[in-house]
Point group: C2
Chain length 332, copies 2
């Protein structure tokens, strides 16, 4: 067990998800690539919402989901992200705090509304995201709480945070503080299109400043522009302390310089909505890792947490992950 | 088939539901009676929300759910209810229109925010509602569209609408217009506590102006202040054209002067959240009735629609009820 104030501080775009079920034809008509995350402006947000069916609103945001997951596992969780002082901002703040996460980022009082992501679920349970960043563009280095970061065993950031300019600066500042305090920095590549947008910057940042990397197979291949999974694995292996590479139903692999642990996916799950699978995988691993568990144990928690979140609509746990772990895993 | 513009116009409090799972102890601590609907003021809304866990937001409102149900069945559905021009109001308007319902009520531009109901789901799947009426108090007679009402085969109103003063006046105006146009008026008693608040007014209004009454067993007993179901049945029977009395898993009974049809509940359903059961029962019956089906057929649709809505969180259909009816019922 670590004795820091927080197991993890997660930093990301603070978003309320707007979930709606659609048919595949809708993606075609709207020129959307299944499973992608598309950034949209306000006009497109209005247009797309008008075309969508009835929806439900659930707090989300990739790193926010991870923060909620760490808390649900019983970990000490902190979150930094920007909402506005509007109704959706109040919903976001309520939900993340009610999940047991420390959340103290000042809400913006002017400028764009709280961010929302229109998440379209096709009958195969896959999600295609359309994100209006709204107030997220207001996040900046001033929002980084130096004391909280230096007292977090891991500071975890989503690649999506590089889209708003201030987010990237906040990200770099947080990484610097974490390393100066001899803590770890973790990054998720978020999305292969996001990797496309920032490939060189991500590659440099990984070498300089990332201890624990999360990526799925496509994102890793995109990062190193290879079609070959083994080549991508070899490329990342000597650049970070730990790389967790997820492969959907093929499970995941956790790599260090001298070890490789294969983790099975939970195939017993009735998959309803894949949103949040990667976020909760990261939550499970980071909870285990920061609480002194082995890579295999941390990976098993990661797999269980990801399995829970894809069994329902919404990207945050719908049940206590702590109870789930104690019921399903033998970590002694 | 009727040739009116709308099968039903539903009038009610326009509300966004905020669902959260709780343990029974929470109800005790907060002095809440399970299954009740409690009206709360803004301060209590803030206090209760702060105590609640993470939630999800779904458009609701009793008559709004019924309107969405009629549309999902393929019926011509109209809705009248008041939201503000705020984010939750936009969500409500989007969802009911996306469900295929005609919704033209002007949003208020000042005064209280859009209404929300904090709906607490206990592990037994029962719901306890805490409603902040917000902008609903702005609904008044001016919002009643005379042409739409006179072209609706049934104008259906929720008892809850009597809580805001303007709602009651709107309600009476709509009933008068409907009857002058030789259309039917329908009322749901909504909630036994609501009946407590308005017993004498409801009793008078039923005699004067209700053709089709919906009530559950408790509400009907409360109306006539009797513990005896048969007495309550006898009391209502000669006062309305049709009375649909729901009895939870005991099913329902549909009464006219000279007939009585027993409808079985769908006991095969895995009950997740009972919110909206009565609303969708009404939707199913009204759709069938206004489309020339028999009482037994209309009741079967009512039972199927109620069964669908209690199989998931949220009080509106999560699938096409039209498809469900065509798959499950033989109405030829």
């Amino acid at each position: 067990m670590n004795s820091t104030r927080f197991d993890t501080t997660c930093i990301g775009n603070a978003i309320v998800d707007v979930f709606s079920k659609i048919e595949d034809e809708f993606l075609e008509t709207e020129n959307l690539v299944k499973n992608s995350m598309n950034l949209i402006d306000e006009n497109r947000a209005i247009d797309l919402y008008a075309k969508m069916g009835s929806a439900i609103e659930v707090s989300g945001g990739s790193a926010g989901n991870t923060a909620a997951g760490v808390a649900s596992l019983g970990g000490k969780s902190n979150y930094i992200g920007k909402v506005r002082n509007d109704q959706l901002g109040d919903i976001f703040a309520h939900d993340i705090q009610a999940a047991g996460v420390n959340f103290e980022t000042q809400k913006s009082t002017a400028g764009p509304a709280t961010a929302r992501s229109f998440i379209l679920i096709t009958p195969d349970a896959h999600r295609t995201m359309n994100t209006y960043l709204g107030a997220c563009v207001e996040l900046g280095p001033d929002d980084i709480d130096e004391e909280a970061i230096s007292q977090s065993a891991v500071t975890y950031m989503e690649g999506y945070l590089w889209d708003p300019e201030g987010g990237k600066a906040a990200f770099r500042k947080a990484a610097k503080i974490a390393h100066e305090a001899k803590q770890r920095v973790s990054l998720t590549l978020s999305d292969s299109f996001c990797v496309d947008r920032f490939r060189d910057e991500f590659a440099d940042f990984i070498v300089d400043g990332v201890d624990i990397l999360f990526a799925n197979e496509d994102e890793l291949k995109s990062l190193y522009q290879t079609d070959n999974f083994s080549s991508a694995i070899s490329a990342i292996r000597d650049k970070v302390e730990i790389a967790c590479i997820t492969r959907g139903e093929k499970g995941s692999v956790i790599l260090t310089q001298d070890s490789e642990v294969e983790i099975a996916a939970d195939l017993s799950v009735d998959v309803i909505d894949t949103t949040g699978a990667g976020d909760l995988y990261a939550a499970g691993f980071l909870y285990g890792f920061t609480n002194g568990l082995s890579l295999a144990q941390s990976g098993a928690i990661a797999s269980l947490a990801a399995g829970e979140v894809i069994s329902h609509v919404g990207a945050r746990p719908a049940t206590s992950l702590k109870t789930l772990v104690s019921d399903k895993l033998n970590l002694k």
